[in-house]
């Protein structure tokens, strides 16, 4: 398609800038939601609140721990998760917004064992960044909050 070789690396691995910055924030422990004056939370990028259309948006921190609202253990993955399966994916309420991510063990990345971490609705989890086993891409990772005292974080 392109008629020159300039920035081949950029062309082959485009970045979704706002998403990447949001992941960076999550990795730094500064995960946030975009919140309007009515208190509707959403994820970036936003020019207006998706619920009410308000353009007055601010960044609000996520709760330190979230509550698992639902989950599934996925056995048949898409190609991007071929080496990750089986894995547990979950939707977690973090206060101003919910996040969807993959549940990981508390201490380390999964190392090829054959079972997804146990998870249940109502579990308390923290969020940070993990790696996709298949290709090393970053993803939203939840880890059990049990056993950690809130004072440990920040």
């Amino acid at each position: 398609m392109s008629d020159d070789g300039a920035d081949a690396a950029d062309a082959s691995s485009p970045t979704d800038r706002e998403y990447a910055e949001w992941l960076d924030a999550l990795a730094d422990g500064d995960g946030f939601a975009v919140v309007c004056p009515e208190g509707h939370g959403s994820l970036p990028p936003r020019r207006v609140c998706p619920e009410c259309g308000s353009p007055e948006l601010s960044r609000e921190p996520l709760d330190e721990t979230g509550t698992v609202e639902t989950y599934s253990v996925v056995h048949v993955p898409s190609p991007r998760f071929a080496d990750d399966a089986p894995y547990a994916t979950a939707v977690v309420d973090f206060g101003p917004t919910r996040l969807t991510g993959v549940v990981r063990d508390g201490d380390a990345e999964r190392d090829g064992d054959d079972a997804a971490p146990a998870v249940a609705i109502g579990d308390a989890v923290t969020v940070d960044i993990g790696e996709r086993a298949t290709d090393g891409e970053r993803l939203v990772a939840f880890r059990p909050a049990a056993g950690e005292t809130p004072a440990e974080d920040e």
Partner: protein, 388 residues
């Protein structure tokens, strides 16, 4: 406003046709629809064509002109894409066009070709109907998304995998006599329970198959039908559509499908009926839990009560309210971009009395079709009635 009549319906057999081109599949469905309708191709004023993943599966964008050629019509032709509701929105716009008096004859339907791709690529292709950044990259597959809804439903209202297995078993039984169905074989509740997991709590028989196929409808105004003395006894009397937040996690409830509530409310209001008037339904059971959610959004069951409908025999072929007598997406098959048109075709045949399962609903006057896109971020509902 004109009343909209279904003059003719056409389907390909649903199944695995990896060697057949999309244009040939749609050509076959359109040919059957024109034969059924006895309407001249030259009278068609618009083609509304649904397709979801043709750009991936056939490396073919801009499919509408191609499908107009395949159908042998020359008129404005447009492709509609709304994931698994692609044909539903295509039909809806056809209904609105005829109802508004902007056209007397519209060809509507859709096509999907899927089995020429490896299963993992289909999985990836379907997953992109979800939010790529905040769901797909977080490991959500298409079955996985409905599994998230199923566990949320179980948590909110109760229910078990076995309840869902009854939905699968019912729809497989319904597909047996349907000549267009992909899986014309019975599946017992035990077999469904013992099948391998796909995304827990959903197992293999909770999921619809990967399917190739096409659907086509010839929709005409009542005036056109009367002038030509067409045999078109079924009318589309109501249409409604709803949209929700794209990502499941952004919805008010993970155990409900508000977009379908909105679509049903609008369709019932358009038809001036209530849910209690419905005699038979074709609903979007891409996964067994989806049928449960559909029944509740359509107002046919209260929230939390749809889960037991199949097990208790209410929605079975011999029940008070048969659901998915075609076999549903579950057993008839789900060529994504064709499904919304296929549901209307099956419902029309059921109401006309020429469906192999019509004997189960001999007095049915009112049918409802529910077609969903993604995890029901899009929903389309149509009401069909016997008009004469």
């Amino acid at each position: 406003m004109s009343e909209v009549r279904v003059a003719g319906v056409g389907l390909t057999p649903f199944g695995s046709h990896p060697e057949r081109t999309g244009r040939d599949l749609f050509a076959e469905a359109a040919l059957r629809a024109f034969e059924d309708a006895a309407v001249a191709r030259s009278d068609v004023e618009e083609l509304n064509y649904g397709n979801f993943m043709g750009s991936l599966a056939e490396h073919q964008g801009h499919q509408a002109p191609l499908m107009a050629e395949a159908a042998g019509v020359r008129c404005p032709a447009t492709r509609y894409e709304s994931a698994c509701a692609s044909a539903g929105v295509a039909v809806r716009e056809a209904v609105r066009t005829v109802a508004a008096g902007d056209a007397d004859v519209v060809l509507a339907g859709g096509m999907e070709r899927m089995t020429n791709l490896p299963t993992d690529e289909v999985t990836e292709g379907l997953a992109i109907a979800a939010d790529d950044l905040f769901e797909v990259r977080s490991g959500v597959t298409f079955p996985g998304a409905y599994a998230l809804m199923a566990n949320a439903y179980f948590d909110a209202y109760g229910g078990t995998r076995e309840d869902l297995a009854h939905v699968a078993s019912k729809n497989h039984a319904n597909a047996v006599p349907n000549e267009y169905a992909q899986y014309r074989k019975e599946v017992s509740v035990d077999e469904a329970m013992d099948a391998p997991p796909v995304a827990e709590p959903l197992h293999l028989y909770d999921a619809c198959p990967i399917t190739d196929g096409a659907s086509a409808l010839v929709l005409v105004s009542e005036e056109y039908a009367a002038e030509r003395d067409l045999d078109a006894p079924v009318a589309v009397t109501g249409t409604g559509q709803g949209t929700d937040r794209m990502a499941l996690g952004d919805r008010d409830s993970l155990a409900r499908t508000p977009a379908a509530d909105d679509a049903a409310d609008a369709a019932y209001a358009d038809a001036d009926i209530g849910a209690d008037a419905v005699d038979v339904a074709e609903v979007h059971d891409c996964f067994t839990i989806a049928e449960v959610l559909a029944l509740e959004s359509l107002g046919l069951f209260e929230p939390g009560e749809g889960i037991a409908a199949a097990r208790e025999g209410v929605t079975t072929a011999d029940g008070d309210l048969p659901v998915n007598l075609s076999g549903g997406l579950k057993a008839k098959g789900h060529p994504v971009g064709a499904t919304g048109g296929s549901q209307i075709a099956e419902l029309t045949r059921l109401l006309r009395g020429d469906h192999p399962n019509s004997d189960h609903v001999p007095d049915a006057e009112v049918g409802v079709a529910h077609n969903a896109g993604g995890t029901v971020a899009s929903a389309v509902v149509h009401v069909l009635e016997v008009a004469e």
